[in-house]
C-alpha cells in the first residue's frame, strides 16, 4: 500500500473549526493542481463493554476503538492504544459482536470528505462529525491524509512527505487561516508493524488522531 500520513488540524487557541476553514483548505489543494477524485469516509467507533457486574468494567480497556477504512471495505480494525494492540478482522465481526452482546457502541464518528489526485500524490481532506449528525454544520475537527503512491516504505517516503506537507502548510498560512496541520507519527514498531505501510498502519494513525482531538477538546 502506498505510504500515508494522517494529519489533523490544530486551530489556534480560541478559534473553532468550521466549514469555511475546510473550504479554504480544499481550495489550497486545488491551487497546486489537485484534481477532485471522489469522496471518502472512515468511521471510528468507541466501544464500551457490556458487563453485568459493574466492578468488572474497570478491567476492560477504556479506549477500545473499532475503525472502518475507505480503502478496505471488507475489513474492520480494532485498536487498543493503551496496550499497543492492532487487530485486523473481517467486516462480519461487527455482526458477531452484536450477537455476542459483548460490547456496545458508545460514540461513533465519521471522518469524511473529498479526495484529490496530484500526480503521484493523493490527498484527502475531511471533517470529523458524529455519525448521527453528519449533516450538521458543527464539526469536531478537520483531518488531512497525504499518500505518496509510488512507494510503500515509510522510511523512504519520509523526506518527500515532509516537504509536501511543508508546501501545503505554506499555502494555507498565506491565506491566512487560524491554525495549522499537525503530524505526529505513532511508533509503529510498538504495535509490531514493519516499515511497509499497510491498512493497519492507517488504523493506528486514525486512532492517534482521535486521541489528539479528544485531548484538545478536553483542554
Amino acid at each position: 500500500m502506498p505510504a500515508k500520513w494522517v494529519l489533523h488540524w490544530h486551530p489556534i487557541t480560541g478559534a473553532s473549526v468550521n466549514t469555511q476553514i475546510l473550504d479554504e483548505i480544499s481550495q489550497g489543494i486545488e491551487s497546486i493542481n489537485g484534481v477532485k477524485d471522489g469522496r471518502w469516509k472512515a468511521v471510528l467507533t468507541f466501544y464500551k463493554p457490556i458487563v453485568r457486574d459493574q466492578s468488572m468494567a474497570a478491567e476492560f480497556p477504556r479506549d477500545f476503538l473499532g475503525i472502518s477504512l475507505p480503502d478496505e471495505p471488507y475489513k474492520y480494525y480494532f485498536v487498543v492504544r493503551g496496550q499497543r494492540i492492532i487487530v485486523e478482522a473481517d467486516l462480519s465481526i461487527q455482526a458477531i459482536m452484536d450477537k455476542l452482546q459483548s460490547y456496545k457502541l458508545r460514540v461513533a464518528l465519521n471522518f469524511e470528505g473529498i479526495q484529490y489526485g496530484l500526480g503521484d500524490f493523493r490527498v484527502r481532506v475531511g471533517k470529523v462529525v458524529p455519525s448521527h449528525l453528519t449533516h450538521s454544520e458543527t464539526m469536531r475537527g478537520i483531518v488531512m491524509e497525504v499518500e505518496y503512491l509510488p512507494i510503500s516504505s515509510i522510511d523512504q517516503s519520509k523526506q518527500i512527505m515532509e516537504e509536501f506537507v511543508d508546501i501545503v502548510q505554506e499555502i494555507l498560512s498565506n491565506k491566512p487561516l487560524p491554525g495549522h496541520f499537525v503530524h505526529s507519527e505513532p511508533n509503529f514498531a510498538e504495535y509490531g508493524l514493519s516499515d511497509q505501510y499497510t491498512s493497519q498502519h492507517a488504523a493506528i494513525q486514525y486512532s492517534t488522531v482521535m486521541a489528539q482531538l479528544i485531548a484538545r477538546h478536553s483542554q
Binding site: P2, I32, N33, L118, G119, D120, F121, L149, P150, I151, S152, S153, D155, Q156, S157, Q159, I160, E163, F164, I167, D195, Q196
Partner: protein
C-alpha cells in the same frame, strides 16, 4: 487409350479444357495458401494478451472459405481424373510414348507434350527445385510465425559479447553476461539482480507484485513449482547464459528496473524501464511504462541515454525531434502510449543534448555495466536532495507535478567511476542528483 466417355470433344478442346481446369486448380491452391497464411496471422493475434477473442470471426470466416476452396479443388481434381489428365496409371503403362496431353507429372509439373525421358528428366529436375523452394518458403514462414522456435539462434553465432572496461582491473578481460551480473551481485549487495529468459520474465511480471521479502522462490512456490533442488527462477544459476534476455534489478522499497538485452545472451541492453517495487502486471517490461510519474520520467531520461549508446544518427534525429516538439502531449515513442494521462511530457532538451554529446565516446560493450551502475545511483531517489535547490520535492514547471530529483547525470558519474580509485560506494556519494528544471547547461 483414354475412354472417350468423358466428352465427345476433339482432343484440342480437351486439352484446352484440361489446361483451364489446371489453371483453376492452381488458383485454388493459391487461395488455400493465402487462407492458411491468414489463419496463422489470426492465431498469432489471438496469442497476444487482450486480443484473444478479436480474431475469432476472422478464423471462422477463413475456415469456411478454406473448406470451400478445398471442396472446389476436389471437384476439379475429380474432373481432371475423369478426363484422364491426372491419371498416374497412364505413366506406368510401358511402351507408351506418353502422348496423352496434357499431362501432370507426379511432382506437379504440367507437361503439354509428354516424352518419356524428357518427362523423367524434367520431373527429376523440377522436383529438386521445388523441394528447395518449398524448404525456403517453410523457413521463412517459420521465422515469421514462430520466432521463438529459432533454434539456430543469432546469439550462438555471435557468441557472448566480450566487454572491456578501461581502468578497472576486475573487468579488463572479456566478460560474458553472467560474469557481469555475478560481479555486480558481489559488488552491490543492496541491489538484487535477477536474470530471465524472455518468456520467464513475462510470467514473473504477471505475478508481481510479490511482497518485498518474497523473492522469486516464493512466488514460484505459489505458482506450483515443486522440487527444492531446482534453482529458483531468476537466480543467475537458473538461466542458460545464451538465453538471458531480461535482467531485473531491484532496490528493495525503492524501485525495480527491467533491462532487455538484444541479442539474447549478449551484453548489450536495448531497452530499460523503471517501476515501483509494488507494481505488477504484464505491462512491467523493458519497454513498458510505470503507472507513476516519477518512474516514468526516469525511464524517459534513460531512453535517451540508451539511444545515444546505439547510434549516432538516431541520437541526433531524436534530439531534433524533441527540440521541435517542445512539450505538450507528445507521446515519446511507445513509452507514454500505454497510459492516457493529462499531464504533458517534459521537454528533456537540455538533458538529452547532454546525453547525446556525452555518450559519443562510450563503447557499446560497456553499456550494460554502466547502465547498471547508473540504476544503482537511483537508490537515493527519494532521499537525496537536489544538488541545486537542496530540496527533495519540487514542482516541475512544465508538468506541474511534484517530483523528486530524477536526473542523475551520467557524465560525471562515468568520469568518477573510471578515474577515481575510491571504492564504489564513495564514488556514488559524489553523484549528483537534479530535478528536471534544476539542471543547468554547465552540468
Amino acid at each position: 487409350m483414354p475412354a472417350a466417355e468423358a466428352s465427345a470433344d476433339a482432343p484440342p478442346k480437351q486439352v484446352a479444357m484440361a489446361m483451364e481446369s489446371l489453371g483453376q486448380a492452381a488458383r485454388l491452391i493459391a487461395d488455400i495458401r493465402l487462407g492458411a497464411d491468414r489463419l496463422f496471422e489470426a492465431i498469432l493475434v489471438a496469442a497476444e494478451p487482450h486480443q484473444s477473442t478479436r480474431p475469432l470471426p476472422l478464423i471462422v470466416k477463413e475456415d469456411t472459405a478454406m473448406r470451400k476452396h478445398i471442396q472446389d479443388l476436389r471437384s476439379i481434381g475429380k474432373q481432371l481424373e475423369d478426363s484422364h489428365v491426372l491419371n498416374e496409371a497412364l505413366l506406368s503403362r510401358s511402351n507408351s510414348w506418353g502422348l496423352h496431353m496434357p499431362l501432370v507429372c507426379p511432382d506437379g509439373a504440367v507437361v503439354a507434350y509428354a516424352w518419356k525421358r524428357q518427362l523423367a528428366g524434367q520431373a527429376g529436375a523440377s522436383a529438386v527445385d521445388r523441394t528447395r523452394l518449398a524448404l525456403k518458403s517453410f523457413m521463412e514462414q517459420k521465422k515469421r510465425f514462430f520466432p521463438h522456435l529459432d533454434i539456430e539462434s543469432v546469439s550462438k553465432r555471435r557468441g557472448s559479447q566480450p566487454i572491456v572496461v578501461g581502468g578497472k582491473e576486475e573487468l579488463t578481460d572479456s566478460k560474458t553476461i553472467k560474469d557481469i551480473l555475478t560481479h555486480f551481485v558481489k559488488d552491490i549487495p543492496d541491489m538484487k539482480i535477477f536474470a530471465y529468459e524472455r518468456i520467464d520474465w513475462l510470467k514473473r511480471a504477471a505475478s508481481l507484485p510479490s511482497s518485498v521479502d518474497e523473492g522469486p522462490i516464493q512466488s514460484s512456490i505459489s505458482h506450483g513449482f515443486h522440487g527444492a533442488n531446482k534453482p529458483r527462477p531468476g537466480s543467475l544459476d537458473a538461466v542458460a547464459e545464451d538465453k538471458v534476455a531480461v535482467v531485473e534489478l531491484v532496490i528493495p522499497s525503492v524501485l525495480r528496473a527491467v533491462i532487455s538485452l538484444h541479442p539474447v545472451g549478449s551484453t548489450s541492453p536495448d531497452a530499460v524501464a523503471f517501476f515501483s517495487p509494488d507494481e505488477g502486471g504484464s505491462y512491467v517490461h523493458a519497454r513498458g511504462a510505470s503507472a507513476y510519474h516519477v518512474f516514468r520520467h526516469i525511464t524517459v531520461t534513460l531512453w535517451f541515454c540508451l539511444r545515444s549508446w546505439e547510434s549516432l544518427v538516431l541520437q541526433f534525429s531524436f534530439g531534433l525531434l524533441f527540440l521541435s516538439f517542445r512539450i505538450q502531449n507528445v507521446s515519446a515513442p511507445h513509452i507514454y502510449s500505454r497510459h492516457n494521462h493529462q499531464t504533458p511530457i517534459l521537454l528533456l532538451q537540455d538533458y538529452s543534448n547532454l546525453a547525446l554529446q556525452y555518450f559519443l565516446g562510450v563503447k557499446t560493450e560497456t553499456a550494460l555495466y554502466f547502465l547498471m551502475q547508473w540504476v544503482k545511483s537511483y537508490q537515493t531517489l527519494f532521499i537525496k536532495p537536489c544538488s541545486n535547490c537542496r530540496r527533495v520535492l519540487s514542482v516541475d514547471r512544465q508538468s506541474s507535478l511534484f517530483l523528486p530529483p530524477v536526473l542523475r547525470p551520467y557524465r560525471q558519474f562515468y568520469g568518477a567511476m573510471t578515474s577515481s580509485a575510491l571504492p564504489k560506494d564513495q564514488n556514488l556519494g559524489k553523484v549528483q542528483a537534479f530535478h528536471m528544471g534544476c539542471s543547468s547547461q554547465d552540468v
